[in-house]
């Protein structure tokens, strides 16, 4: 079972944190901090695995992938295959990329709700729900359509300053 999904930027700021077991807010923050503490000390070109026993308890595993300014982190137990989870991170990122066209950190920051919707179509209650990014996109678009039909929703450009000064 996947225990947690986190997206943390290279400064340690959480961009997405989803825990599939209930944890208090403080605990969540602490875990994010400790994960980041270890992550940022790891060199490039080392494995994508990190000892997580000391942070999440025995038999937990942690796989992460570093893209530009973001770390994508999945924490899970022994029931999952490490490399398969690593592939899942790749699927998640590829889907984001399709959704935002050349995704960057700002897309993720400002489209926080979208990120959640996408993740919910990939991981469901700690289990892998869908692995095909085409299928994921289909589901997400369906939801967007439903939302759009009931609200007028504006486009959020990548730079906020443009419309803030209007």
């Amino acid at each position: 079972m996947i225990k947690a999904v986190m997206v943390i930027n290279t400064q340690g700021k959480p961009r997405l944190a989803k825990f599939y077991d209930f944890l208090t807010v403080d605990k969540q923050q602490e875990l994010i901090r400790s994960v980041f503490g270890v992550l940022c000390s790891r060199a490039e070109n080392v494995s994508n695995f990190m000892e997580a026993d000391s942070i999440f308890g025995p038999d937990s595993r942690l796989v992460y992938k570093h893209y530009a300014t973001l770390y994508f982190v999945f924490v899970f137990d022994t029931c999952e295959n490490e490399l398969a989870v690593l592939d899942l991170i790749q699927v998640f990122v590829e889907t984001l990329d399709k959704c935002f066209r050349n995704v960057c950190e700002l897309d993720i920051v400002f489209n926080y709700s979208k990120l959640h919707t996408i993740l919910d179509e990939i991981v469901f209650g700690g289990q892998v729900l869908e692995t095909s990014s085409a299928e994921i996109m289909k589901a997400v678009e369906e939801i967007s359509k439903l939302e759009a039909s009931s609200n007028s929703i504006t486009l959020v450009p990548k730079t906020v300053s443009g419309w803030r000064n209007r």
């Binding site: 959480p14 944190a17 969540q28 923050q29 602490e30 790891r42 060199a43 070109n45 080392v46 494995s47 994508n48 695995f49 026993d53 000391s54 942070i55 308890g57 025995p58 038999d59 029931c79 295959n81 490490e82 490399l83 398969a84 690593l86 592939d87 899942l88 699927v91 959704c99 920051v109 400002f110 489209n111 926080y112 709700s113 979208k114 959640h116 469901f124 209650g125 289990q127 892998v128 729900l129 869908e130 692995t131 095909s132 990014s133 299928e135 996109m137 589901a139 678009e141 939801i143 967007s144 439903l146 939302e147 009931s150 609200n151 007028s152 929703i153 504006t154 959020v156 419309w163 803030r164």
Partner: protein, 1063 residues
């Protein structure tokens, strides 16, 4: 695709991003939360869009780490809204903010059920997602049947069905009874025929959960799993969108193989054949390729196939193929594959008959110990540890030893423990074992626990053949220039016991042995000295015929330590001295130690326990403990005005000696009531000889006389001798009771205390289990001290109690000390101090803890209570600034001062924050210092001190102290006298107790009389009695400017900078 977003949310996020610091962020968040609260309260004008916007803001705030505890009710009620947008909002919040035990959830069950059985697929998806994320037992009971129906329904879209499958999995985990096995097995098998890969993947996850609980019921699903594998891996019968970098859904393949691993064997030969065909294809057909993602996916499948082969215990042919593959993997460039290769090899060790093929890769595994990635290094260490046996122990242990000197600090302790265990378990001969352990101590002494050297001593004691060898080795190590203290301990012990076996060898005569061991004495801590004393006693005993010169030397040492502050050392010194004087009559007592009873190695036992316990001792748990203790400390800080936390009675052990609190400072306070005979205290200590290793080693050496009468007189004698130093040192630190046999403070408490008088932070006390540090900050008469209690061990310290006994002039508030200090954790306990009036009395910290050890004799695992008392004191004067006013001035000639160069004395004064004012006194042999003293009664009080030294005789000086308060003057003078006489750097317990200062009668002298004295004249001239305050200002260029504060400047001078303080 169009980006849909919410402008309000984006504005809020960018506001948060623009916050320069955490405080600003909190302000912004609070403002937003207030806004959301009001908007939700007047629900009227809130459109669904706005609601959604606020909800996402709340979720964003929640992610930032703020509690969002309102709106639960609103959220839950939104679930029942008829329209999609509102319902969506309700479900999103509910599943993100609530947990399964939340009461509000119960209210929603019916609505959720209606959504699930309703015809609206989007509603079904929303409801399933929420239940799948937070559904609990109650949901399981009322919804499982409906969810099952959705899953097998032919009319539902795959999108809904895959969610239903995982939702059912969640409900099954919460309550396994909700899946009726008889009815469900066939359905499950049918589900595995599903064509839609999304639904199939989810169903496979469900199957894994079901078979992991009860594989027998689901036999019929086994061939289906094989079929799925065949379909994917052999036929590649899969829609394009489900291939990932050309590999047919690696996740589904992995899941299917996972499910197969829960069945013990495969009986049907056809099925087995087809499976092995597929596995063979996977094993052979996977190559390391350039594309990282493709590589990962292919190897995900491959490693799962390896695991399945291992599980099915295939023909040996396939197994060795697997080992060969793994051997290839651990040498590839791709770090992930190396990592998993090592991990799987470790797993493979459990399969019989492959050890030999794994051993072929030993060299490569050893290379992995030097991998740049610590994750890989750890795997390599695990693997080496696991694959070690009698045939390769020598090589592996030697590699580990070599690696030890370059390994990361994070790994060293584990590494040395593992090396020690392997050496013990697989030693081809015992002398090799001794070599390894001694090397281990030599290379990584800091990381070698006591257990390790205790064990080597046991081995040597129990094996006579080994004794000369071990003694000779120990002798060799002593020749090295700098050796670790543990090495001093073990070699001293071994040589004490067995050096007589070497007597004929060159350089090994008793005298030479004694000299080389004694050389190490100044470098070791208090905990080692008792072992050295025992060694001396043994050497003396073994020297036949007696060598009078050696005897005198050793007796001199015993004499010296008879007055040692450390009770253990003191007792040994006295007893050995008495015993060795008696000569041959009592020789038997000092004869060689008897053999130790055979017992399981505490080390191996510890390793076993650690393996079993690793589940319990999880860091998360430890962290949790740590958290609670921090919380305790924090909460107590707030109750600073309350009474000091109640400290439960600790029985007779808490007997504490309070330093004489002389409220009346005119009376000589020293030497009074401080000499409680040690004898009485010893009796109170209920310590029984412990059964653990330490007890075995140290106990008998300490010659335990019959309790009571026989020992009593000796101890009284000790206290008579020790009376004087304790009177002198007593004010500083009071040895309260004997330290129990096993807890030896590290370092000299007294010295530590003196050192702390000179600085604001440092270590107050240390023993093998705990370290207490202190940090102080003073603002006028208010002090803020923090005690740092650090557990040095890997197991928690229990029943921790700390009580501060303040002297009358100090008001102290110690916040509650947590009862348990988690392993290797440090707890901070703030201590607030208010100085009421001048006094030299010190506060005492009474500290005790319990260290539960389960080790040693298999028959009884005894829990050992060790209590250590430290009397801690904060000499308030030391951290106060002092200055003066002369109505009351005291003068005294102090003799017996430790000679100090003037510059050093100036430094000492400065470190007491008595600022030297150079240039005030024309005589270069004199020092003048000033400071401001703060207390409740005196407020800011200026003090002046003048020291006139005699260049001909540095052991005496005349000290003049003046301030506006008679008590302050007296106390300051006494304090300085103490400091100058028993200079802090002086080692404790030199041959004779420091001569008490021969004080001239210190009488307040009248101002008139004082004027005849040049110092007084100076002082009087400098700040006239009638004037109030003298302050000292540090000007920009660092020189001093002294002003009299009646408005007009009387004196200002800029001395030359040669004695610039603190620069």
């Amino acid at each position: 695709m169009a980006l849909s977003g919410m402008r309000g949310l984006s504005v809020f996020i960018s506001d948060i991003r623009n916050c320069p610091n955490k405080d600003q962020e909190r302000l912004r968040v609070d403002k937003e939360l207030g806004n959301i609260r009001t908007r939700f309260k007047n629900e009227k004008g809130l459109t669904p869009y706005e609601k959604k916007k606020y909800v996402w803001k709340m979720l964003y705030i929640y992610m930032l780490g703020y509690d969002v505890d309102f709106g639960h009710m609103e959220a839950v009620s939104l679930i029942s809204a008829p329209k999609y947008p509102e319902k969506q909002v309700g479900y999103i919040v509910t599943s993100s903010l609530l947990n399964e035990n939340h009461d509000f959830l119960r209210l929603a069950i019916n609505t959720v059920r209606n959504d699930i059985i309703g015809r609206n697929e989007t509603f079904q998806c929303l409801a399933l997602t929420m239940v799948g994320n937070i559904g609990g037992r109650e949901f399981a009971e009322s919804l499982a049947a409906d969810v099952q129906k959705l899953l097998i329904s032919s009319s539902c879209r795959p999108l809904v069905r895959k969610k239903a499958a995982l939702c059912l999995l969640r409900l099954y985990r919460k309550n396994p009874d909700v899946v009726n096995i008889d009815g469900w097995v066939d359905r499950m098998a049918q589900l595995l025929d599903e064509r839609d890969i999304g639904v199939l993947t989810s169903s496979m996850s469900l199957l894994v959960a079901l078979v992991s609980n009860n594989h027998e019921a689901y036999w019929s699903c086994l061939p289906k799993c094989v079929k799925v594998l065949e379909r994917l891996a052999r036929n590649q019968d899969i829609p394009q969108e489900y291939t990932y970098y050309g590999i047919p859904s690696p996740w589904l393949q992995v899941k299917a193989m996972r499910a197969l691993q829960y069945f013990p064997t495969i009986e049907d030969p056809n099925c087995r054949r087809s499976l092995f065909e597929v596995l063979q294809r996977i094993l052979m057909g996977t190559d390391v390729v350039k594309n990282v993602n493709k590589n990962n996916a292919a190897h995900a499948v491959l490693f799962e196939a390896l695991a399945l082969v291992m599980h099915l215990d295939a023909e040996k042919e396939m197994m060795s193929q697997c080992v060969a593959l793994l051997g290839k993997f651990i040498a590839v460039r791709e770090p992930n594959i190396r990592y998993l290769g090592l991990e799987n090899m470790t797993r493979m060790l459990m399969v019989t008959d492959v050890q030999d093929s794994i051993k072929r890769h030993q060299a490569q595994i050893i290379t992995s110990l030097k991998d740049p990635d610590i994750s890989i290094r750890r795997r390599a260490l695990d693997l080496l540890y696991g694959m070690c046996d009698i045939s390769n122990a020598k090589d592996i242990v030697e590699e580990l030893l070599q690696y030890l000197s370059t390994a990361d600090f994070a790994m060293r302790e584990e590494l040395s423990l593992k090396a020690a265990i392997l050496a013990e378990k697989f030693a081809p001969d015992l002398s090799w074992y001794v070599d390894v352990i001694l090397q281990l101590i030599d290379k990584a002494g800091d990381f070698v626990s006591d257990d390790i050297w205790f064990r080597v001593v046991q081995f040597v004691t129990n094996n006579e053949d080994l004794q000369p060898y071990a003694a000779a080795k120990a002798r060799e190590y002593l020749d090295k220039p700098a050796i670790h203290e543990t090495m001093v301990k073990v070699s001293a012990y071994l040589l004490g016991e067995f050096s007589h076996l070497l007597a004929r060898r060159p350089g090994c005569s008793p005298k030479e042995i004694f000299i080389i061991i004694h050389e190490k004495l100044p470098t070791v801590s208090t905990s080692t000295i008792p072992i050295l004393l025992s060694t001396y006693a043994k050497i003396l005993m073994h020297t036949q015929p007696p060598d009078p010169e050696l005897q005198n030397q050793i007796w001199a040492i015993f004499n010296k330590y008879e007055s040692c502050i450390d009770a253990e050392i003191q007792q040994r010194a006295v007893e050995y001295f008495a015993l060795s004087r008696k000569g041959a009559a009592v020789m038997d007592i000092l004869a060689e130690m008897p053999k130790f009873p055979e017992r399981q190695s505490a080390l191996i036992k510890k390793a076993e326990v650690a393996e079993v316990d690793s589940a319990d001792q999880s860091a998360i748990k430890l962290r949790a403990q740590q958290q609670t203790s921090n919380a305790l400390v924090v909460t107590d800080q707030h109750s600073a005005n309350g009474p000091p936390p109640t400290v439960p009675a600790v029985g007779p052990l808490t007997l504490v000696k309070v330093p004489s609190t002389s409220g009346n400072a005119e009376h000589t306070s020293e030497g009074q009531a401080l000499t409680q005979p040690n004898g009485t205290l010893t009796k109170i200590d209920p310590q029984t000889p412990s059964e653990d290793l330490l007890g075995d080693l140290l106990g008998p050496l300490a010659i335990e006389g019959p309790p009571g009468a026989a020992v009593q007189p000796q101890q009284n004698a000790v206290s008579e001798v020790g009376g004087v130093p304790s009177a002198v040192d007593g004010a500083a630190i009071v040895p309260v009771g004997e330290y129990s046999n096993s807890v030896q403070p590290i370092g000299n408490i007294n010295e530590r205390f003196y050192a702390l008088c000179l600085k604001d932070s440092g270590v107050l006390y240390e023993d093998p289990y705990i370290q207490i540090g202190i940090k102080a900050e003073w603002r006028a008469q208010h002090g803020h001290l923090v005690l740092f209690l650090g557990n040095k061990n890997t197991s928690p310290l229990d029943s921790v109690q700390a009580l501060v006994l303040p002297p009358a002039h100090l008001k102290m508030e110690l916040s509650l000390v947590p009862e348990t200090i988690p392993p290797r954790a440090q707890v901070q306990c703030p201590l607030e101090v208010l100085n009421l009036r001048p006094s030299r009395d010190v506060a005492v910290l009474d500290f005790s803890y319990k260290f539960g050890e389960c080790e040693a004799s298999p028959s009884s695992s005894s829990e050992q209570i060790s209590s250590a008392y430290i009397s801690v004191c904060r000499r308030v004067l030391s951290s106060m600034e002092i200055s003066f006013r002369p109505p009351l001035k005291l003068q005294e000639v102090v003799r017996g001062v430790r000679p100090l160069p003037l510059a050093e004395m100036a430094n000492l004064f400065n470190s007491f924050r008595l600022m030297i004012c150079p240039g005030l006194d024309p005589n270069p042999n004199n020092l003048v210092a000033s400071t401001t003293f703060y207390s409740e009664s005196t407020r800011a009080m200026l003090c002046l001190i003048r020291i006139e030294t005699d260049p001909a005789d540095r052991t005496q000086l005349r000290m003049t102290v003046a301030s506006g308060d008679p008590m302050l003057t007296f106390e300051l003078k006494e304090f300085m006298k103490e400091q100058l006489v028993s200079i802090p750097t002086a080692p404790h317990g030199p041959t004779a107790p420091p001569t008490p200062p021969v004080a001239q009668v210190a009488q307040p002298t009248s101002p008139v009389k004082a004027l005849t004295d040049p110092g007084a004249m100076l002082a009087a001239e400098w700040s006239f009695e009638d004037f109030g305050l003298v302050t000292r200002k540090k000007s920009v260029n660092g020189s001093f400017l002294v002003l009299v504060m009646d408005g007009q400047s009387l004196a200002s001078f800029r001395p030359n900078n040669k004695a610039e303080p603190n620069k």
